[in-house]
Symmetry: C2
Subunit: 423 residues, 2 copies
């Protein structure tokens, strides 16, 4: 009775047997009377294969042609799902990015969706045909193929749901929802029935890879109700909604996330004078290093201060090189680094109206002797940097401290989410 | 200084290393001052992989969606070749079937090219950009993806050459030209420097798989000069031209071909009355059986005759079943079949003006005791049906009888053509 968008990821589309499983779910939705548009990813591994070809062809493949190559993966699964649906007696047709079209910017490889023409597809859906749309791809105003960047199919699905005025965008993936933390670390982690866009965004940015960040931003902007659920089980998923909708069981903290992808850099004995911070972070920005947590201590004796920040681990050698070359401008006494760190974050819209969230965190970590190396906060998040070896302990301690522990897990063979895992 | 189309088959595009080899050849043509359009096949094996997915999805995949899936293979190689050319400093861009567009009928899976819009691509080529066009694919008037059927990339190349008014269409393949016969059977087979469209058509129809039949028909109709050459050697290839151009070394016979894909069917004791032939071949046509050679003997005693014909071996069981069911209408005394037969053909425009070609054939075969089971002729071809076990002997004998033997082959490791092999 509603118009819905269903999106299936690469694991769900990996091979014709799994595509049949996807088709069955679509068929069920159609038989329930829904008008259905399906957005599909390429088969798991296929995009990597195509990207590999491009890299072999040229280390710096021209983005416009890279897009032509990698967009082929979703074209294949879109056609295969349409074939499978038709074989099951469900009317369906594929709509490629250029056929709708999905109009994008011409930033090849990382294009942004600018609009989706829905006249033809809405007519087709109204006539009872399932629309199968390859995710990840679009077309420039000049008629060239574009792609949205890795994970872009989530964004395709949310954008299509917004353009179609769909009641809901169901994102089927290989986890069955968003958990209070990584169930592999905390077996008593609980699946959230609801989470707000803001919380989902903060969790995504600290390493929970359930949904691509851009898709959550878009869902928030366009007020698209997103549901995360597993294509391999019938368990209810997690609904990502506007804060105004999230009135049930208001939790202080939605979840505890960790991120082991960063490294810590400390500049010791930096002269505390105007412009010195720019001398540090200007060259890093020029080198496209994404600096995250930044801590600057109050100036100590002799007008010297220490500056600590984190960078992606993969960019640590580059960062150290950039800072060495900027030594004359910065004037630091020493340059230290540590890759064996981890960022632990607690996220929840409830902390807007509750004091003491950070204090609870610091106290809980202190009781286990875990030293905090840096702290950053946002309105709905507190993150701390700790030694990597304490990650599991810290996550468990915080999960308990915020009252997130659920019942003991029923059986070891249950499909477990990995919602909070670092990418 | 000329506008040329270069077409590369699946073996030539199998992997990035081979695509680099293709790009080098294109670069050489560009540096020679040519305006170049390149038509590419999918990587060898890729179309089979995609077809396999479709069959797994549904034994009878809907053709429109089948086309969406299988067209992806050429899209990938087109993008990869453009990337590789650009990395070599050659300006290039891909033009997908829907981007030119290549307009086709809507007979999905076996679409026919109806026209190619060349305004944009000609402007791009005139500005010094190589046009890379995926073969095999096109677009219907309604904007859906089509494919031309297996081997359709040759047809794409010839059609593009005609539309662009190209001076030549070079078909690069894994053989280095068209031979007087299969060099694996006759080591002294010679590569033809020229062959007429008509001869090429007859050779193609009797099993020489160098060029797709439709591409030769189109080249003949549009007067496109086609050159067959190897992408793995620099040897000169075979030029397929109009008969008026073929004035050099006019040979009586262009080549000797064989075809082991047929089976013989004989209806014994068929009543020799009006309508009986229709009673035989009508039901076969209704069952989509492609009947080839047909021999009907003069009526013998009692108004009975025998009818012999060939059908594709794969369709033999179907054919026998159809004829059994039509027994009441045909009234034959017995139904015999033999799959162990082969068709040997000699082809040459020279036989139009020379008598005795068939006689030479029959005499040569008779001297070796090879029995002829059926004979068919066209203006430029004589075909005989013999027992399969005599194939190699017959081909060698005829090759010598028509004076086609060249010098002893130079070395065993030379790349050898398989021009006459049965598909």
């Amino acid at each position: 009775m509603a118009r819905i968008v269903m999106k299936f990821g690469g694991t769900s589309m990996a091979g014709t047997e799994r595509i049949r499983n996807v088709a069955s779910r679509v068929k069920t939705a159609v038989e329930a009377g829904h008008e259905v548009a399906v957005v599909v990813s390429a088969m798991a591994g296929e995009t990597d294969r195509l990207v590999g070809f491009c890299r072999e062809a040229a280390p710096l493949a021209t983005p416009a042609e890279y897009d032509v190559v990698v967009a082929a993966g979703e074209q294949v699964t879109a056609g295969l799902l349409a074939i499978t649906l038709q074989a099951m007696g469900v009317r369906a047709r594929s709509w490629l990015g250029w056929q709708l079209p999905i109009r994008t910017s011409d930033a090849h490889g990382t294009a942004r969706i600018e609009g989706i023409d829905t006249t033809a597809v809405l007519a087709s859906m109204a006539a009872g045909e399932v629309a199968v749309v390859p995710g990840f791809q679009g077309m420039t105003a000049g008629g060239r193929v574009t792609t949205l960047g890795r994970g872009g199919s989530d964004t395709s699905a949310v954008a299509l749901a917004a353009a179609l005025g769909a009641e809901r965008c169901d994102i089927y993936t290989d986890v069955d929802g968003v958990y209070t933390t990584d169930p592999r670390i905390v077996p008593r982690a609980q699946k959230l029935s609801r989470i707000t866009y803001e919380e989902m965004l903060e969790l995504a940015s600290v390493g929970a890879k359930v949904l691509q960040t851009r898709s959550v931003e878009l869902a928030m902007k366009e007020k698209v109700r997103v549901q995360v659920l597993s294509s391999f089980s019938d368990a209810p998923g997690t609904l990502v909604v506007d804060e105004s909708e999230d009135d049930v069981e208001q939790q202080l903290i939605a979840g505890v996330a960790y991120d082991k992808s960063e490294a810590k850099v400390t500049l010791v004995g930096v002269p505390d004078r105007p412009g010195v911070v720019a001398a540090i972070f200007g060259p890093l920005a020029d080198a496209n290093v994404n600096v995250d947590m930044i801590v600057q201590n109050i100036a100590k004796d002799e007008g010297k201060t220490d500056v600590t920040f984190t960078v992606p681990r993969a960019q640590l050698p580059l960062s150290l090189d950039v800072l060495d070359r900027a030594h004359a401008d910065i004037g630091h006494a020493a340059l230290l680094s540590d890759a064996a760190v981890a960022k632990i974050s607690v996220v929840g819209v409830g902390m807007r109206s509750h004091a003491g969230v950070a204090a609870t965190m610091f106290r809980a970590l202190a009781t286990r002797g875990i030293n905090i190396q840096a702290i950053t906060t946002s309105e709905i998040k507190v993150s701390v940097l700790i030694a990597e070896e304490y990650v599991e302990l810290a996550v468990r301690v915080l999960h308990t401290a915020y009252g997130l522990d659920g019942a003991e897990p029923p059986a070891p063979d249950t499909i477990s989410g990995t919602a909070m895992e670092t990418a």
